[in-house]
Symmetry: C2
Subunit: 657 residues, 2 copies
């Protein structure tokens, strides 16, 4: 049974005796039975399965063995994380939160206005959206660093999808209605994903997909900004790269040089500050302050040079005051309901993905946990509330959360500070933005989205996993040339196809023994591994499913034929007598797989080859047992390890030659 | 390192010395390096991958090292299997083939007429389809027992899908055109699946799906026959169970007692013969001869009692003569092209699935191989040829192939004998069928499809795999209540969902050592397995993909927390110092999985826990290497086996306490 004879010798040296133990003469000792998993009823199995699907994090764990009062407190803290950190809040924390809150406010105000423009909405909606949702998130959210507000991707997607049906210029009220309704559906969708604990749905947007998608979206967003940067008035509402570029060059006569000069200067300024902060993370405040500085400076320039800057389009009048209620604008019937729902679901998924990814990133930096499902409910409820108070879709923004983190935010209270600053702006400072040129918003957007083009990640994908790169590329090209939802769908399709391909065409290999050990490994990978005469040891690396059972049957038979040919051409080798299938990596089996194993056994029987299974995992063993096929394998058909199978069967052969 | 001390003692008995070797005091000996798979360029990998995807059976294998002439002969035999068996054909074989050919002809003629009725086509088309396609299959097909002709499922589906758009009663020419066109597209689709070696597509119709689908189709087909059996004239063209049953009971006044009496008698007769043959397979010829006997008998009865059987509808005039050409009837443009293509693809997939499954079944009984892709091309070409010679979709029929096999068919020549018999019938015997009552066709169809309701298989699915049963049930109910293509689509969806679920929520478990061995197994399954103090050994049973990386991270952290709690409550146990992740069953990894492992390492680092990987498989190792994350694990982060990891790390701890 292949005990390492070197080692045995080594020990025996103490006794000054040398015994050389040959593997061949060793009798098989103490075989280990392959056990079934402990018996469970169908109902118990279902319960276990469902709890693994929906409650992998075991959220009720902390409630165990507690008094009723304690349970109540824990329950409150569970649903409103504010009670968790609020009870131990201190002045020290407040100081940090105020500083970080003010910092992100300086970023949130210009970005809010810009992203509202990106969604083809009035700029003021962007400020409204930076006020109500952060307050709600503070109460419900479990991340301490998430800075909540409008984000570029979701704004872009909402703008695109709604503009394809309704034009803001022609039907502003309807457009607004649809925007709020989409936000409402996004919220409903997000909250129900969280409530139904279906959070894993967003996992299907793999990182590879997102890298491609974000880069595509960033390119599209940047190109769209050429409208503002060049001062073009008549621009396409389509989002694909071809019509946008056509639109840019067709309307050359509308290019305004004042706009171009102003835009280029501030774009340079913003990109330079971004670069500085990227090189020295301690100087994060430079890029954080740059957008507001640009807005103020450019507004001042346009205001002072009013007479000479006629060509520069400005934001114009903005109403003062708090968010007006908008629940009466929700649109629940009529021809555009479908568009609103679709837009809601797509923006909902995207904003959820961003919010949760951002939350998890900063949580892991500070070593605390963010509960995905709870976050979904928080983001969903905040969007539902937002849709009733003139906000469009919001989530945790990556850029602002990074600034928040760097500025030393300690709790979600920094969102309250930010919201208060926005409140002050809404109440008193709106007239300041009257002369703000639109071109500056374009520059801010470009600076914000340019970081989404992560070519280093794309290169790494190429290096490590070609299929991941394919998913990335197809979502990039899909977004650029087809449309945002279709690009996403294609990329998800490629990702799922990858899983199916892995199952449909799994790896199979021949194993050999590493001399002196009980280790059996791939012959091709481990040069030192040796074939065991008369045995063919195969391993399959995947579940045995309907999708691969035909393939595996053919492939295993081919391995056997190839082995037979090899032995034939090698006259001094003994003929093959036994095929061992190492099932260690066969993680599951279904009825088609069981049939295939049965079929293989019969076929090998006809060729007078013994067929042996080694180490089936728990649920495979259970199914083999339930289907009664183990009986047909007989007493020597199942072993716990390949080593025990080889040892026992060869000793049997010796006993009855 | 856990050498079985029992065994060592046993050997030392020869030397009359007893040495007890304790696992704890053993120094770690000879660690094995984890190897990378041999280096391959991206192109080599791609080539290997593609050859596994498209050429798993290595069809060019036999051409290696052959002369040009031999290659030519082999090539001919490869594309036209007739040359393979034809060259060694003998009179003995011919005798067997004639007997079996005549037997299946006696079955093919009544079934052909019946199945044409099932597809709402004139009965003569069924005979045409039993003439040309078998001849072509004889030349191209690689199965020796397949009896080719129309089959119930494909006929039903074609009838359903076409009747939903066009009624044969109202537009017979258009209906015929669409039927031939669908057959043509079915053929094109089948042949290209074979040519492009995409045969694995049909594997996605798992056996579970097919059991449900066939049972559903059989119920629908049987209910449809109530039209003929009860003599109803006005009947719904819909196929779902509800409208069909409504139709039966709404038209009670059309029920004809003569028809019912005749139908019931012959149905009883057919079912009885079926039962006899099922009980005694040697008497297969009883059920094989019964349909033709019924047709002849009932025709005689109706002919003799002409005056008294006015209420019984008869087939009526059938044209004598060979298949007329129908290539001019193919319909390649116009509003119904979409329906024709869709029908072609669905019937194409279904007939392919049946044909290949039947071919494989009988091939495995006689221990020869059927090449799936070649069969697809044969069936596809035969349908394309059929569509140009007034045939509708054909494939290998299960019931007739079984009879063929039992009657002792030796080669595909039995198809030629059958076709010749059909030819004689077409040329001379058509007037015989003038008085054949339609009710007898209904009885023949019911007898043929009733065997498709395989409740035993369904019960076995329930017993062995609940999710397979769910796929079966959903295809059954989908076909009954929604529609045939949608029922199929739902079932495929459920099957794919099953694969995704397996990957999204994989099993994770804690391993323990089986004392005295190097075996590490699931603690819950193996009662004798013991935890190793200071170690937590986890195993993951699935690839590490984007779809499960969040789950696995959470789940692994939960295992660690639970272990910490367990140790806390168990004061005399030493604290956990190292987490070993057994990657044996992690059959693949993608970039998200790599990120998760990195992330886990960092998190465990913060908790001062060592994180170690054991036995990554080839391609996982390759990706870990390419992404350079192994470096962060350090020298003691990767071991070939869990046993070596435990031994080496604990000895290191002892060295530096």
């Amino acid at each position: 049974m292949g005990i390492n004879s070197n080692r045995v010798e080594h020990f025996l040296d103490h006794e000054t005796t040398t015994v050389t133990i040959s593997t061949e003469t060793m009798p098989p000792l103490e075989l280990h039975r392959v056990c079934l998993p402990p018996h469970k009823t169908t109902f118990q199995k279902l319960r276990h399965r469902l709890s693994e699907i929906f409650f992998p994090d075991n959220p009720l764990h902390q409630f165990k063995n507690q008094t009723w009062l304690r349970k109540l407190v824990l329950g409150l803290q569970f649903f409103f994380p504010v009670f968790q950190w609020g009870s131990s809040y201190s002045l020290d924390l407040l100081r940090s939160d105020v500083i970080s809150g003010l910092t992100i406010a300086s970023l949130a105000i210009p970005q809010g206005i810009s992203y509202a423009k990106l969604a083809n909405l009035p700029p003021i909606i962007g400020l409204y959206s930076s006020f109500v949702p952060p307050l709600i998130y503070t109460i419900l959210g479990s991340s301490r660093h998430l800075a909540v507000g409008p984000v570029s991707i979701a704004s872009l997607v909402m703008g695109t999808m709604l503009s394809e049906t309704v034009s803001y210029a022609e039907q502003p009220i309807l457009y607004l209605q649809l925007a709020f309704t989409s936000t409402f559906f996004a919220g409903i969708f997000q909250a129900s994903l969280g409530f139904l604990r279906l959070g894993f749905v967003i996992d299907f947007l793999s990182k590879a997909t997102l890298v491609g998608f974000m880069a595509g979206a960033a390119v599209i967003v940047s190109l769209q900004q050429l409208k503002g940067l060049l001062g073009i008035v008549h621009f396409t509402t389509q989002m694909q790269i071809v019509p946008v570029l056509c639109s840019v060059f067709k309307n050359k006569n509308e290019w305004s040089w004042q706009t171009i000069v102003l835009g280029t200067i501030f774009l340079m300024f913003l990109l330079t500050t971004r670069k500085i902060s990227m090189k020295k993370p301690k100087l994060f405040w430079i890029s954080a302050a740059a957008p507001l500085t640009s807005v103020l400076l450019s507004t001042l320039i346009v205001f002072l040079l009013q007479s000479k800057t006629q060509g520069i389009s400005i934001i114009g009048h903005l109403p003062k005051g708090l968010n007006p209620p908008s629940s009466n604008m929700l649109y629940f019937h009529g021809p555009y309901l479908g568009v609103a729902i679709k837009t809601g679901i797509v923006t909902g998924i995207l904003s959820l993905t961003e919010g949760i990814a951002v939350g998890r990133t900063f949580a892991s930096l500070k070593n605390y946990q963010v509960d995905g499902n709870k976050e979904m409910m928080a983001i969903g409820l905040m969007n539902m509330a937002g849709s009733c108070s003139s906000c469009f879709v919001t989530t945790g923004s990556f850029s602002r959360s990074a600034v928040n983190y760097n500025a030393g935010a300690q709790t979600a209270l920094s969102n309250v500070i930010m919201a208060s600053t926005v409140l002050v702006t809404l109440l008193f400072l709106m007239p300041l933005f009257h002369y703000t040129p639109n071109v500056i918003l374009g520059a801010i957007i470009i600076t914000a989205v340019i970081g989404l083009i992560d070519y280093q990640s794309a290169f790494r994908l190429w290096k490590v996993d070609k299929l991941d790169f394919l998913a990335c590329l197809s979502s990039f090209l899909g977004v650029l040339f087809i449309s945002v939802p279709l690009g996403l769908a294609i990329a998800v399709g490629v990702s799922v196809f990858k899983i199916l391909l892995h199952v449909t065409r799994p790896n199979t290999m021949v194993l050999g023994n590493i001399p002196g050990t009980q280790i059996y490994q791939n012959l091709i990978r481990y040069r030192e591994a040796l074939r065991i005469p008369s045995f063919l040891i195969l391993a399959v690396e995947s579940p045995f499913f309907f999708a691969n059972s035909t393939y595996l049957q053919e492939r295993i038979l081919r391995w056997i034929c190839e082995e037979e040919e090899r032995i034939e051409s090698n006259t001094n080798e003994s003929s093959m007598k036994c095929v061992i299938l190492d099932m260690t990596a066969v993680t599951a089996i279904d009825t088609s797989g069981i049939d295939t194993i049965c079929e293989l056994r019969k076929m090998l029987d006809k060729r007078s080859l013994q067929f042996v299974l080694a180490n089936p995992v728990g649920n495979v063993m259970e199914k083999l047992h339930q289907s009664n096929i183990l009986e047909s394998f007989g007493a020597n058909g199942l072993y716990l390890t390949v080593g025990e199978a080889v040892a026992d069967i060869s000793s049997l052969w010796k006993a009855q030659p």
